[in-house]
Subunit: 381 residues, 5 copies
């Protein structure tokens, strides 16, 4: 059991602590530390303008150079951080400042916006609900926005929430093909923020289920689940708070890379981030309230158990005592006062009658106190 | 029982989670997503100036065009969001920006104010107490204020709290007929904010009832009710907080669409919103305190149960032991030391006397500790 | 019992929820809604300058007109809100804006300051401790300050805390007779703020009593009292917070109606309001801590009860078992192994000895664990 | 016991509620209310410049007049507030505004700074640890800083923390004799702020002791002590928060009475006040956490008690039942099926064997569940 | 046991309270108070420019004078505060203001930045995880930045987190050798902030372990550990909050001693400080939630124990009563109604049958209530 729990705990909590990765105190600023287990980078390129559209997988970072100077919007999407060489070549191709590369690779960076005159760095945290089981995948995404290009760097190739955006570009849906790289950046940030909703919706459902479970049949697993939800909501909160600030500083700083129109869209996106925060806070309060309810429910159950014990004991212990009295061996022949009841003609029936009277009297008392009904509702649940 | 609870829970919590509706990450901004279950829109038009008054139901959005350019105030009230076609035609008639339409249709938008030069968008959340049972209906209302018109879009046609305003216009009560569209907008916002009061009053009463229930006879249902109240107050809080901010930005931004006089009225309305918030916070603290009281009350009850068990056990277990001693079968004939009491002339009465003395002694001790009185107050409740 | 509790609860909580009175959503702004149960207004007039002093009860609002234009300070004190007619005539006499009259009559208004150029409206909440029982009367007072007059409107004629001010004017104590209407307004506001102190002092005492009660002999009533105190402190908090803000905006807005000197006095008054808030917050924390103490104390008591039960059971249940063994009817004649002890010469004394040894052994163990002492301290309390 | 507790509670809490003294609502502002129990004032004068030093006790306030106009720094230290006459004469000698005298005498004033052009009033709260027992003396100190003099007014002559400053002046240690009255004021304020450290250190130790007590042997006294600490820390918090603000406004307002150099020292003093606040907050959190630990520890103990009861009952109740069976009186002669065991040759040993087997079986089960070890750790503690 | 606990507590908490060291109220500002147990200072000097590098241990503070005026960067690192003489000579060599020396020596100073025109004082708190056992070493580090030199003063020579920086200088890694003293200061501050990560990572792991322990097998030690973690996190919080503010004021104040480029690096460092704070707050919430879980888990366990007791008692007490009945000695010969069952042919088997039926009936009931399964899951854990 313990082992099972442990394994379970590990499986679930691993992603939650993964983002506590940090670079060792005293390392050179700008150092790129490659996590050995990180997947090797896959590089995808999308180049589009209103009429043309290319989508291909690149083998080397340098392959995207020809696209960068064109007027068309170039989206280079790097998935995976497992190669120092590729990352450093990327840095050279896009002329990234050294601190940017470090932030991109340090997968536990707080979401933030950094403005480097001709480039804009936006670090975000993306969450994707797991297909099976609860929880969510959490992954850092870095966006580097230039005049005509957008470089995005994801931690791993498996999950992202950019599917909708890719389809919109490919199918030329909406206005995205008519807009610049800033609009693409907005679309991705919006997808990241909106990506919190399905995750939160799940927690909403889980809280609803837990509420019922807590009140109807609280078990130890319930407790663990509530704590789990609280912990994961704390994580979501740590992800969305700075994200909101980052979007806000995108809006406030009015970089020249972002057009007026996209500013308006970003404000909408900011509203969504605030809404996510609201929901996270609400869910956290609900989860914390559920813990109180759990404690009360457990106390309640114990109360019922104690009532049953008390009813049974209070009825049978006195009866047993009466039986014990007539089981005494006082010598009835030595004295007429020694348990003359034993020799009465109606002695035994009388004795049973007295016991019955005691039992029913006590039952009546308990019934009046309402202990019997309550005690039975437990049964009927 | 479980099923009943589940059904109960569903029935009550549905509206509370309904507003967690969201648009899928990656969808095009400005997309209008129609909820299939949304009721079809009904369009009502009121056109009035000091002397004239028209009130009619329109069949098509375009029917209101002739009213819009007149000096008279035109109030177009759309109830229901169930038709993309109607909404898009509305958008064209009122020349709404695409993001506005999206906000209007996305029924989980946070209350907010958006200023589009010649139009002012105010998104509010309206609550209406349910006729039967606890809880409330919660519905999004969008107000689009123009120079001479006001467009309001409600989620559904069934409940709103604009009855008073409609009567005032129809009966020409107060100054509303002498004022412009901005005053109408104020009157509706004021009605929405004041609409929180009857809902809150109900929670005030419910908390009072719960307080009594918790102290006199706490059951599992009490626990559930308290949690329910807490959850619904959290919802109210999420609705009123941004509403206050939205009203505040209406006042602060000093749009040209809103006259000086209406500004003063809006400040009054803002005061009411703050008062609502105050009440919500107070009720939340009371509800949270009730949970503590509940836990204490349950502990208290268990204490009483334990006392009874202890009193009964502590009295009868020693007595039963005494009876058990004289039930032993030591052979009195083999030795004068083997239970000579059994052959005494007064053996049995003496034995009963000893038992009585023990019982009364213990009862006296318990009485001195005050356990008997306390234990009996439970009974009298 | 329930009914008694209910009646008790009603009696105490009524005033606490009275201020939740609100005007129905959709009513015309500026509407005066008269509470049917409100007492009829009594109008008192005080007119004074350094040398003259008049104090009389007026029968009609118009009777104060002759005093208003004089240089002397005129204080019109209206007590009771039960007549629409009188209030509207008052409004005309003092030329009050319509929203002012509404605020005055709506007795659940948040304390606030409104500046209407030649008039200053200050809405305050006055608390007066009840003569008997706990709790306090809470009443809204509206002050309208003009150039040479002050109009005060109280909810009811019975309680106020202006006695000291009236005496100072009448007896010409202090500087009040030499000062203008603004000083009178300050004196009344100061009296209102200082009026919180006796109420708070009572809660201080009540908390001290409750603390003792909680630790020495916690009962269900204790729980109820703590919750009651918490609820009433919440009310006080809701009253004093906005009051502080209102005084602050009086100071900050520097209306021309308030002289430099009175500003200095108001700052002193503001300090007192902050002090009241401090005390309310401290008391709230103490009350909330008491709830924890209560829960712990109840657990503690249960612990003691359980210890007694465990001691008694653990001693007598094994003894009863021993007695039970020698109460078995094995046929000693069939075999020398069948309970030969029964036929021993010292069988019975030996058996008693064994029982005594078991009992004393267990008692010794319990004594070493310290259960016997603890269990007895309960008794000695 | 109750009385003892009550007396204890009184003794400790008196100082904690003493500062809740207030002036009655409606009294004239500037009124001096003399507490009858206040000690009579003792007036000490220190006059010093770099080379001269006088220290004497004055009999009348007017005796300090000759010193005030000199260039040398004059420190008049009044200890005790028990005479209206002396205080009013002081007011005249130092030309104090009336509100200042009121603030000085009202010993529950919030710490604050008031700037009266040629005088600076600083009201502080001084704490001194009690020599014996826990707790601390809390006393209001008012400082009035003039061009060449400093007037300090303390509540009582017994405790203060100015000893170090007096010695520095007397022995001409440090730079204090070369500096003006502003430096003296700083030195006293610094002594007051630093005076919180020894008090806090004590609470640090008490919390450490309580933590051990809570985990090893929680009793009712522990609970009371924790609550006591929480209450006293709340008091300290109420004293230090406004003190910090007062020092801050001393620094920010840049009065001409305070030199640039002393400003720098005051900033250091401000840092210390912030540090005190930090410690108070940390201790409050620790104390509040201890309450949780207490509750858990009590639950834990009850758990152990219940385990013992359950182990004893679960073992002996079945055994007693077995013994009860063979104590039944079925007539073995009437039928071979009526308790033939009683007549078996090995009946009794077999019966004892069965009982032993049951007992050991159950013990083994409990041991496997770990109940026996846990139950015994309690004993070993 | 108590003693062991005490010793344990002391060992662990000493460092946690050590920083509560304070200077006695009333001491002269600028006084250097040497802690007797402080280790004697060791002085190390590093002097480097792009091409040269010296690293030596100095015997006297004056030995570093020749290096200070050179263009090369000089880092004087003093480890240990145990000699007033050395510190005062240091003060003269570096021309430190008196308050700076006091702050440096007072090892419980709050982290802060002070700008003295040509010198910049930065006081930081450095944490280093203990090699064995939990907890961390906490030590104050003062940095004095001049034009071409940096003076650092540490509390003790044993632990610091500057190893990485020393290596980078020695091995000329990164850009540090090409930069000025401001970059060195940044590198050290960055190392201090990053030094919180390994400490926090440990608490992350400890919380994970505790979570499992709490749910699977909560003991008293668990409780203690949770409280310990909470206390140490509080300490970390007190260290990092002001550190963040200090770094922020470094950035905001734009001292001339810090170049533009280092400002950018400092902003990165500030981000890390915020991240540390985030993690501390998250861990504190988790730890506080664990306390609730603990309480619930203990209640849960008690519930299981009570269930077992109730099941055993409820089954055997009635059975024992039945056996007691047939153990009564009514004289069957006196009357046919006196326990005729004893003489029945099938009396005994019937009686056993009835008992069995009762037992199985009750077991069935308990099984239906789910008490038996739950009770056994405990066993399987």
């Amino acid at each position: 059991m313990i082992r099972k729990l442990r394994r379970f705990a590990k499986a679930v909590t691993k992603p939650s602590y993964k983002d506590e990765f940090y670079h060792y105190p005293g390392t050179i600023p700008g150092t790129i530390i490659i996590d050995e287990n990180a997947p090797p980078p896959q590089i995808y390129l999308m180049d589009y303008c209103q009429n043309n559209f290319t989508h291909q997988r690149l083998t080397a970072p340098e392959d995207c150079v020809p696209y960068l100077d064109q007027e068309s919007v170039t989206w280079v999407d790097v998935q995976g951080l497992g190669s120092r060489d590729v990352l450093e070549r990327l840095g050279r191709v896009f002329e990234l400042p050294p601190l940017v590369l470090e932030d991109v690779v340090n997968v536990s960076e707080r979401p933030k916006t950094e403005d480097y005159d001709d480039q804009l760095l936006f670090i975000a945290r993306m969450v994707v609900p797991r297909e099976r089981g609860g929880g969510f995948y959490s992954e850092q995404v870095s966006l580097v926005l230039g005049q005509h290009y957008l470089l995005t760097i994801q931690e791993e190739p498996e999950h992202d929430c950019f599917g909708g955006v890719r389809t919109r570009i490919e199918k030329a849906k909406g206005i995205i093909r008519r807009q610049g790289a800033d609009h693409l950046a907005y679309a991705l940030i919006d997808a990241i923020v909106d990506g919190f909703f399905p995750v939160l919706e799940r927690y909403g459902e889980e809280l609803e289920d837990l509420e019922e479970e807590v009140i109807v049949s609280p078990t130890r697993q319930t407790l663990q689940k509530i704590y789990q939800v609280r912990r994961e909501l704390l994580q979501l909160r740590r992800a969305i708070w700075p994200q909101r600030d980052a979007i806000n500083s995108l809006i406030r700083d009015r970089s020249e890379l972002i057009s007026e129109e996209v500013q308006i869209y970003l404000r909408d996106c900011y509203d969504h981030a605030v809404q996510v925060m609201d929901m996270v806070e609400t869910y956290r309060e609900l989860a914390s309230g559920l813990m109180d309810v759990y404690l009360s429910a457990v106390s309640n159950k114990m109360n019922e158990v104690m009532k049953l014990l008390t009813v049974v004991s209070s009825i049978f212990i006195p009866l047993t005592f009466v039986a014990g009295i007539y089981g005494m061996n006082f010598n009835t022949e030595k004295s007429p006062y020694n348990m003359p009841e034993l020799n009465w003609y109606w002695g035994y029936p009388l004795c049973l009658g007295v016991m019955g009277a005691i039992a029913f009297g006590l039952l009546f008392l308990f019934w009046k106190r309402g202990w019997l009904e309550n005690s039975s509702t437990i049964n009927r649940d």
